[in-house]
Symmetry: C2
Subunit: 492 residues, 2 copies
């Protein structure tokens, strides 16, 4: 075999092995009895160490050098470049630091669970500070290896090549137009009358509706499942897609829309290019592109008259006839806009405010410009300004609401808003490219947009950066313009 073929085979091996880790993670969230947590953590930790050892195998260094001298097809060369880059990143951080960081995460996570219940910022702050030291040190090491600033090195982990400058350029206009937009939408919706559906909505019936919706959105149950977990997610592997939801008997919409959101993630994962499975070039482009797909399904496709029409008879069949299930009323129910403290409960119009705040404070925390003790005051001030919401004294509705930081995830939040921008910009491009999109959708066929995403986004794998891929597909650099236009069209 050539050196490149050896490298490719090595990645294929790791991919096949990681299948088991993915299923074990899914099982942990969905099935595992609590008493098995310790053994499972040990098993998964051992496996992770093993995979890391395979990724750091010194033999790869020799192969990488040999492969660089070989003649390769352009895609192979791109794949090789990504392999070298991964190697660079993996060897940038000493093992001792990774262990310290893992311990700090464990302590911070446990403190967070407790502090959230007791509304005690100070208790959590004590564990976030040492974690932040580890996060910063790791970011510096990564940045040194890649020639990036520390925060850019963190952004880069989720979105190759993305910089704070990019994020700021993307988000600055949103800070300008968002507050007014929210005011206008809420004022307009105050005039509207709609009917609330009457529960309870049995979980069995909700599950049937969810599965029917997944089928409408092209989920292939021959290589995937829907289950229940406390925190909904899309997991498994490209060949065995596992999405989850949680149900409440008093409402069905949050679960249903969550299912459609995860269906978007799963279809992207399942639609990645088959010949490149397991290779660095064959994975998803970025977390923002992933979010762009889930929001394409949940927001761009589901919150429409076309889907409301398809959903209406499903609800009648599941829960019996109600006036609230008329398509026009359903659409109003699905597009309510309200100010609130909690990011994950927010509608698509107020959601950006939650991301803007976090995206602003994160780089300041990493740079040390804002201290951990200052976060709550900082949070209150921004929430009041951006969203006119008072979070003072309520840390659970403030800076203690997200799990990200206590898991060491800094640089992730921007992808939520970038995802919304991507979804809006992709949908707009799809509409231009597909003159009959509206008539097809209204006739009950929602497959046009997913098929177009498959051809343009999913099959591209990780060949391009987020910005490059969006520009290639839409002919324009990524911006918030399409998102603004989308809000105006749908809500004003």
């Amino acid at each position: 075999m050539t050196a490149y073929a050896d490298l490719k085979a090595h990645y294929d091996t790791i991919y096949r092995l990681e299948h088991l880790q993915s299923i074990a993670t899914w099982d942990r969230m969905v099935n595992m009895p609590s008493g098995s947590a310790k053994a499972r953590a040990e098993a998964q930790g051992e496996f992770e160490a093993l995979i890391q050892k395979m990724q750091m195998d010194p033999a790869l260094e020799t192969l990488l050098r040999a492969a660089h001298d070989a003649e390769l097809a352009p895609e192979e060369a791109a794949n090789l470049a990504l392999m070298s880059r991964q190697r660079l990143v993996a060897s940038a951080v000493p093992e001792a630091l990774l262990r310290r960081r893992a311990e700090a995460i464990s302590a911070a996570y446990q403190a967070w669970v407790k502090a959230k219940g007791q509304n005690d910022w100070a208790a959590f702050a004590k564990t976030l500070k040492p974690l932040l030291v580890c996060v910063r040190e790791r970011a510096e090491r990564l940045g040194d290896a890649l020639g990036l600033s520390p925060y850019d090195a963190l952004l880069d982990e989720y979105d190759r090549g993305l910089t704070l400058k990019d994020v700021q350029a993307l988000f600055a206009p949103v800070v300008e137009w968002l507050p007014e937009m929210i005011d206008a939408v809420i004022a307009k919706q105050a005039e509207e009358t709609f009917i609330r559906p009457v529960g309870p909505f049995s979980i069995d019936a909700q599950k049937k509706v969810g599965i029917a919706a997944m089928t409408i959105f092209g989920f292939d149950f021959d290589r995937g499942r829907l289950d229940v977990s406390q925190h909904p997610f899309s997991g498994g592997t490209s060949e065995d897609l596992r999405i989850t939801t949680r149900y409440r008997e008093d409402q069905f919409l949050p679960s249903l829309l969550g299912i459609i959101h995860e269906t978007g993630h799963a279809r992207y994962q399942g639609g990645l290019p088959m010949p490149w499975r397991g290779q660095p070039i064959g994975v998803a482009c970025s977390t923002s592109m992933h979010e762009g797909q889930s929001l394409s399904f949940e927001k761009q496709l589901a919150l429409t008259p076309a889907f409301a029409r398809l959903l209406s008879p499903l609800l009648v069949e599941a829960f019996g006839s109600q006036a609230a299930f008329e398509p026009d009323n359903l659409l109003m129910l699905m597009t309510r806009v309200n100010r609130g403290k909690i990011r994950v409960d927010a509608d698509e119009v107020t959601y950006p405010a939650h991301v803007l705040l976090r995206s602003e404070i994160e780089p300041a925390l990493i740079a040390g410009d804002v201290g951990v003790d200052d976060i709550p005051a900082w949070w209150d001030e921004r929430m009041a300004r951006l969203l006119d919401v008072d979070t003072r004294g309520d840390h659970g509705g403030g800076a203690l609401q997200d799990v990200h930081w206590c898991q060491g995830m800094f640089g992730y939040f921007p992808s939520y808003l970038m995802g919304a921008m991507i979804a809006a910009q992709l949908k707009a491009a799809y509409k231009v490219a597909t003159p009959d999109h509206e008539s097809r959708a209204m006739a009950g066929d929602l497959s046009g947009y997913p098929n177009w995403l498959q051809d343009n986004v999913w099959l591209a794998g990780a060949q391009f950066s987020t910005g490059d891929l969006v520009a290639r597909i839409t002919g324009k650099p990524l911006s918030s313009s399409a998102l603004k236009a989308h809000f105006e069209e749908r809500y004003l």
Copy 2:
């Protein structure tokens, strides 16, 4: 670290990793969508190769030699001896032969599924012949390494130290007393009248009864689960026990007794000695001892007046009141004896006949004294003689009924009957050791026997061979006497 400590750590690592394989196997049987089968097979195959590589790590050879010269506690020395033995076995068979065998198994399994549906022995025989060549060759290699005959080497895989001579000595008396016993029991039962329960029995309600029964038999749901699969099994790991069943709405007893059977396997697995988890000395003693535990639960504990008393109100609660649910009637229902062609459907009295037949033909097949083409005629003759059942022309009810041979499993069948003997002999010893066993059981406390098994069998791990362990506990060598006495007491 000392060489022995290094070896122990190596086994601990493999044990932790195999946790993931166990969960993936369980998931494959319980959850996996069919379209994911190929990717899962590749993932699990890759993982198996990785574990094999770890087991064959040349560094172990050096460590084993060094450890042999060290001073070790007796249990450590026993553990080390088992490690050496595993190494010997693992290195006895060349990889090329294992690959050929795996391919022959795959072909035979596929042919078996088809041939069973078409009652076509000849079609299956074509694939069993080359598989048998591989099985023989492997048995010879193992035998050479261990100083055993080929068939003894196969028996040894399931039951360390067991020989054909042992099996023949154990089973010869049963061939003598069984046919008459079956006649007598069936004649006696022909006089009895009992009431059949009336279905349908909803699956939800059956599941509730199953879980209640598992609780009675001490299953810890904090580290285990009950699920559904096409072929019931006990899987997972000692720390996360996963048992399965399958339900039919027209009957509840086969599923319920199956659940109790798997609960026995699971409790043994979960009760293995904690300090030795993952070490060769810490696993189950043998497949026959495993079967001895499952049959202790299913036959020795469940088919009793004491359990019938506990079950009765559970059934009334689940399915409503029926005269059939009276304890005396339930006991009659659970202990019906009937001749039949199918081993897995057989009651405990006729079951030994199915095993005797298979245990007689297997060594003859391995030795080449019986050819594959002769199996059906051989089968028909033995079934007529041992059980008075006519299997002529019905291969699905004959030699095509079991999956074992087409999976390359020769030497496994004896463990089913040895398990029944073990269960009877252990139960008899428990009764002697526990004068108040009957009154405690009739008062609703069935925990006595499992606790005794825990102390005597489960905590011994794999320290002793099956025969040695039974003799240590019961004071007598293993024989069929207790089983015969048990049948006489329960059925005559």
